[in-house]
């Protein structure tokens, strides 16, 4: 069994393309969980991932646990000898093989004693069992990407690299595939590096985040750290977001709702296809949360939580981010106008109620 320690990634890459240069400096990444590599297009996140895989050769070094994959003395382990798997942005299935033979491609190329993930497991996790005899040409974008993920897993990799696996998909396919990724996150004991420019994907899947800008790494933070500062790059597009780790409590099928709980509190979500007891993350946009001074007696909003105001910070002209906390310490960010804040007379330490208009599983 691997301990996290002997899967720690230590590396430095420098690669010059003329117009663009990747220059990471020394960095290390934990050998467990999902590490998102986040940045705008052109920030160098894909290049960084390709350097790790050995698909690009820059100068620098790369150590995975005790193993050296690349060093300054010209050692460079070729891609096919690295115990990693790679999921590409676009579908890379082999069109001359059916799905089953695509899945077997990687499996057959690793020695038996290294096989830890069985075809049954990979097929179940990705839900591709009914596609085995089909040609990849006849699959939808989402199905193709799920097959590609299953194929990658079947190499029993020690490190899984994913390069924007959802970005080439339409919204429906994204919705279809994200639950599978979340499930992998729960069940798979393999460190994953996940390149994305979508804050939503980071917030749903990542445990830590590498922020990149202009070919450089600007910060490496845990998700909690990354979502606790109002100026986080994750918030540039949709404003601040709260991520809550919750558990499925029960379903109310009469109203097509699912109750999830965290600490002493709970939230109603649209019916989720998950077993009670399953851990899940919910993300709440700060702009979907409003504050009221006393508990509302009649409201169409299902989710109202009593909170204490712990901070107020301007986020733009006329707008304030108000940080609140529930009784048991869960932070909940809200974004309101300065006018509302003044009308309500909000101040730090005040007890108010947060009305949550939408609890998003996915936007």
């Amino acid at each position: 069994m691997n301990t996290d320690n002997n899967r720690t990634i230590r590396a430095r890459f420098h690669l010059d393309f003329g117009a663009f240069a990747l220059d990471t400096g020394e960095f290390s990444l934990p050998g467990s969980g999902v590490t998102a590599i986040f940045g705008h297009s052109g920030s160098g996140k894909t290049t960084l991932l390709r350097c790790m895989a050995g698909l690009e050769q820059g100068e620098g070094y790369l150590r995975f646990g005790e193993d050296t994959w690349q060093d300054a003395n010209r050692k460079f382990l070729p891609v096919h000898q690295r115990p990693l798997a790679y999921v590409f942005q676009e579908a890379t299935l082999f069109p001359h093989m059916d799905v089953r033979r695509n899945l077997e491609y990687g499996l057959r190329r690793i020695p038996k004693e290294r096989r830890r993930i069985t075809p049954e497991q990979a097929i179940e996790w990705t839900g591709v069992g009914h596609l085995l005899d089909r040609s990849p040409v006849r699959l939808s974008g989402g199905e193709r990407q799920r097959v590609a993920i299953a194929r990658a897993l079947l190499t029993s990799p020690r490190l899984l690299l994913m390069d924007e696996p959802l970005s080439a998909l339409d919204i429906r396919s994204k919705r279809e595939i994200l639950p599978y990724l979340e499930r992998l996150h729960r069940e798979l004991d393999i460190p994953v590096l996940y390149v994305t420019h979508s804050p939503a994907e980071v917030e749903r899947l990542a445990d830590q985040v590498v922020f990149m800008e202009d070919g450089r790494i600007t910060a490496i933070e845990t998700l909690a750290e990354a979502t606790s500062r109002i100026d986080s790059p994750l918030f540039f597009d949709e404003g601040p977001v709260t991520v809550i780790e919750a558990n499925v409590d029960h379903h109310d099928d009469a109203y097509h709702l699912t109750r999830v709980t965290f600490g002493d509190h709970g939230l109603w979500l649209p019916r989720q296809p998950l077993e009670p007891g399953t851990a899940l993350r919910v993300r709440i946009l700060a702009r979907d949360v409003s504050l009221i001074r006393s508990a509302p007696e009649e409201t169409s909003i299902l989710n109202v939580l009593p909170v204490i105001i712990t901070g107020m910070e301007p986020t733009g002209p006329g707008k304030l981010a108000v940080t609140t906390e529930t009784r048991d310490g869960q932070t909940l960010l809200t974004e309101i106008t300065r006018k509302s804040a003044e009308t309500l007379g909000l101040e730090i330490g005040q007890h108010v109620h947060a009305q949550i208009k939408a609890v998003a599983m996915m936007e």
Binding site: P78, V79, H80, R82, Y86, F88, E90, T92, H96, I110
Partner: protein, 230 residues
């Protein structure tokens, strides 16, 4: 010698033509693969130069190519003098000379379809195969080759057919030695020269039918593969 339509016909040129074309095709597929591969992947400027060199036989008059081959394959030429180290016979006016000349002459017809086939496979699929543990050779045989089937079929057909149709270059370096270097196209020319129109007809019609049949089979297969790969 056989008798057909009341005339004597020497079939030796037919067998010789098929032998030269078949051998040339095999050689071209073998050497055309790495050349086509390199041209398809190379990003260097040298690639462009090489691509132009490979395409030269398409535009040069066969006599120009034949002339240089005659000098190159001759006993004092670079290829000819090397050949004399391993063989007592001259390359020019020999079967081996015909094959070497045909390889040069038909090179673009094999390399270009292969190059286009390799280009269309796309870098990502090969990278995916590499991340799945396939070595470069393994990638070639498990991904490149099956996905270039049509390219290979086209390359082989064109190389074969083009070699069969060769005339000028062979005349320059092979002469016209019956039984040794006299191929069908030259035999037809000879028959016409001496007014043996029946023999010329038989050989010409044979060539027509053969070429048509080959093309028919290739296009038929091509279409079926298209359906299969989608």
């Amino acid at each position: 010698m056989i008798e057909l339509f009341g005339v004597e016909l020497d079939l030796a040129p037919v067998w010789l033509t098929l032998k030269v074309a078949a051998l040339t095709t095999v050689i071209l597929i073998v050497i055309g693969s790495p050349i086509g591969w390199w041209l398809a992947r190379s990003k260097s400027r040298l690639g462009v130069v090489f691509e132009a060199v490979v395409a030269l036989p398409l535009v040069l008059p066969p006599t120009v190519l034949g002339f240089y081959l005659l000098i190159g394959l001759g006993p004092h030429g670079p290829i000819g003098s090397m050949w004399s180290l391993v063989s007592e016979n001259n390359l020019t006016f020999s079967f081996a000379g015909l094959v070497i000349a045909s390889v040069f002459y038909s090179l673009p017809f094999a390399v270009q379809p292969l190059m286009h086939a390799f280009e269309s496979i796309g870098e990502r699929r090969l990278e995916a195969a590499a991340t799945l543990g396939a070595s470069p050779m393994d990638r070639f045989f498990s991904v490149v080759l099956p996905l270039s089937q049509r390219g290979y079929l086209t390359a082989a057909t064109l190389a074969f057919a083009h070699t069969v149709g060769e005339f000028g270059v062979i005349l320059m370096i092979g002469g016209n030695i019956p039984g040794q270097t006299q191929v069908v196209s030259i035999a037809i020319y000879d028959h016409v020269e001496v007014m043996e129109y029946t023999q010329a007809h038989i050989l010409s019609a044979g060539m027509m039918l053969f070429s048509f049949a080959v093309l028919l089979i290739v296009y038929g297969l091509n279409r079926r593969m298209e359906v299969k790969i989608g």
